[in-house]
């Protein structure tokens, strides 16, 4: 009805203009194969490197529009273009550019993991838009064993298990900071969470650890000190399962007795408890976060079949609602085998390490477009060994300007 009233009155449209419009209309009616894939799936960089760039157009680009364009490049390309010339280098490091960068919706977070081989930390970052592993160096003494435990605002929180302290780093740059030491010695089984103080990185971040005995503390990067407010609810049985996830300024922990979710608001110091029954036949489960929603990831076992399932927390009814499961054809590979799962990245993009006898799989699940994808083998340039099993890691939103 509305459409029939749409008229384009082009008085004096020339032939060329008419055909231009016609082409668009026709293209609209008979959808051909998409020329450009989903923005979240950027093409392989080599695939369109032949596309011509006309100098007369690019050299007259107004500065603000040019920065808007560059802010839409894959992160790796932004870093590559720092070496074009001094002007580009300073533009890519400028405050105005990081503002443009922060305004572009980034589809997928990256994933950061460390692998300990030959008494050395090797780090690997997975870029899901290019389906590629990058290998950043770890700016640390080689004897230390560090594990990525949490992330926020483009920064990754690393736990140095030998020296009992925390490090904060931006995996894209060499920005690194050691958090002041704590007196607490027992580090086995600590849960660590991290939140930003506000939407921007200028106002710092907070890191929280929770011990097996219910002791906990929060570090504020603006004050550079640890402190503790509130008390752990005595009715909850310790230790808690799985890593916490961050939604706004709250961290959510999964608790087994009573079954449900526990939240701690790091800015107010208030604990809240939600009793939520778990789905039946569930195992290897963990919490995940997606666009402010609390999600549950786990294995459903029934007879000989095992399947990875995703649930969303219904805040009104306090129930888990199933939203997706892994494609049948992949589940069949594990039929009759005892499958174990570790969920590594748990924000926006899930990195799942599936393990069974003679079958190891590394897959990602994209909560945004509900896509399951196999992850290519991670081969470190130094060791040349394929890694199909990854035991620790965290999802993080790549941000070139984030400072530890």
């Amino acid at each position: 009805m509305v459409q029939s009233r749409m008229i384009i009155v082009g008085q004096g449209l020339g032939m060329t203009q008419k055909s231009e419009l016609l082409k668009i209309m026709e293209a609209n009616q008979s959808p051909r194969k998409c020329l450009r894939r989903d923005r979240n799936h950027e093409k392989d960089p080599s695939s369109n490197s032949t596309e011509v760039m006309k100098q007369e157009i690019w050299s007259e680009f107004p500065g603000d529009l040019f920065e808007t364009v560059v802010a839409r490049l894959p992160v790796a390309a932004m870093f590559r273009f720092r070496t074009v010339c001094r002007k580009w280098y300073s533009m890519l490091g400028s405050d105005s550019f990081s503002q443009y960068y922060s305004e572009v919706p980034r589809g997928l977070p990256w994933f950061y993991t460390t692998i300990h081989e030959n008494a050395r930390n090797n780090a690997a970052m997975y870029d899901p838009s290019l389906t590629k592993w990058h290998h950043p160096s770890v700016p640390l003494a080689r004897a230390k064993i560090i594990i990525p435990v949490a992330s926020a605002g483009g920064l990754v929180c690393l736990l140095d298990i030998l020296h009992s302290n925390f490090l904060i780093c931006n995996p894209l740059t060499q920005s690194l900071k050691e958090i002041p030491c704590r007196s607490v010695q027992a580090w086995s089984g600590v849960s660590v969470g991290m939140v930003m103080n506000s939407g921007t990185s200028n106002e710092g971040y907070r890191v929280m650890w929770l011990g097996n005995d219910g002791n906990y503390e929060v570090y504020d990067s603006m004050k550079n000190t640890w402190s503790c407010s509130g008390t752990f609810p005595p009715s909850i049985k310790l230790p808690l399962r799985s890593r916490p996830i961050a939604v706004g300024s709250a961290l959510y922990f999964m608790c087994a007795e009573p079954e449900g979710v526990l939240s701690y608001d790091v800015s107010t110091g208030i604990w809240r408890q939600f009793v939520i029954p778990l789905p039946l036949h569930l195992s290897d489960h963990t919490l995940a976060e997606f666009q402010g929603k609390v999600m549950l990831v786990g294995l459903l076992r029934k007879n000989a079949a095992t399947c990875v399932c995703i649930w969303e927390l219904q805040k009104m009814t306090l129930l888990w609602k199933e939203v997706d499961r892994m494609p049948n054809i992949w589940c069949l590979e594990f039929y009759g085998k005892h499958m174990k799962m570790t969920c590594l990245g748990n924000s926006g993009l899930l990195m799942l390490s599936l393990k069974a006898r003679r079958t190891n799989r590394l897959v990602t699940y994209n909560l945004l477009n509900k896509e399951w994808q196999k992850v290519p083998d991670c081969m470190h340039p130094r060791s040349n060994r394929k890694r199909q099993l990854i035991s620790c890691g965290t999802a993080f939103g790549p941000c070139p300007s984030a400072l530890a």
Partner: protein, 173 residues
């Protein structure tokens, strides 16, 4: 859409004197048109003069506005609970966008500048993604050659930049 709603049209006049008539609601995608109408102008038969934008470019912008307005109006009318249909419609619109923006650089540039002047955020975004697509697979030296930029780094400076983010330059798997 309510059936009894009156149909208000506005006319946009390009720099070379071509007029384009479209639904006011479609034209309101432009912040500039919004501002003009808000101060009580532009509804008359003379239309809204659009400076610096030729008829050829403006015709494309009008096509974009009509399409996006119709899509939004259709989405409003849909059953809010039908999640699947919404996703399908969004996908369809994205495919239309991709076809629409698959243009020669000269035309793309004209549309980008026009969309920026008219304050049509969605169209600016779309054009910028398309331009970024052209750049992203290139190496720094290719960019320098294509755009006639002189490399003004010393080799030490470049080595330092590469050292700051070694993962960019090492082999990926």
């Amino acid at each position: 859409m309510a059936a009894g709603k009156p149909v208000v049209m506005v006319t946009l006049v390009s720099s070379d004197g071509q007029s384009f008539q479209l639904l006011e609601e479609a034209a309101l995608l432009s912040a500039m048109v919004r501002d003009t109408i808000q101060i009580g102008q532009g509804r008359g038969p003379a239309g809204i003069p659009i400076r610096n934008i030729t008829g050829q470019t403006l015709s494309m912008v009008v096509v974009y506005c009509n399409k996006h307005y119709t899509a939004a109006a259709a989405a409003d009318g849909d059953d809010a609970a039908d999640e699947e249909k919404k996703v399908a419609n969004k996908k369809q619109l994205r495919e239309w966008d991709e076809q629409f923006i698959n243009l020669e650089q000269d035309k793309l540039y004209d549309i980008l500048v026009a969309a920026n002047n008219l304050g049509i955020d969605g169209l600016v975004d779309l054009c910028c993604w398309r331009f970024a697509d052209m750049m992203k697979g290139k190496s720094a030296s290719e960019i320098r050659v294509k755009l006639g930029i002189r490399d003004d780094f010393t080799s030490e400076q470049r080595a330092q930049i590469e050292k700051d983010s070694p993962w960019v330059w090492s082999r990926t798997t």
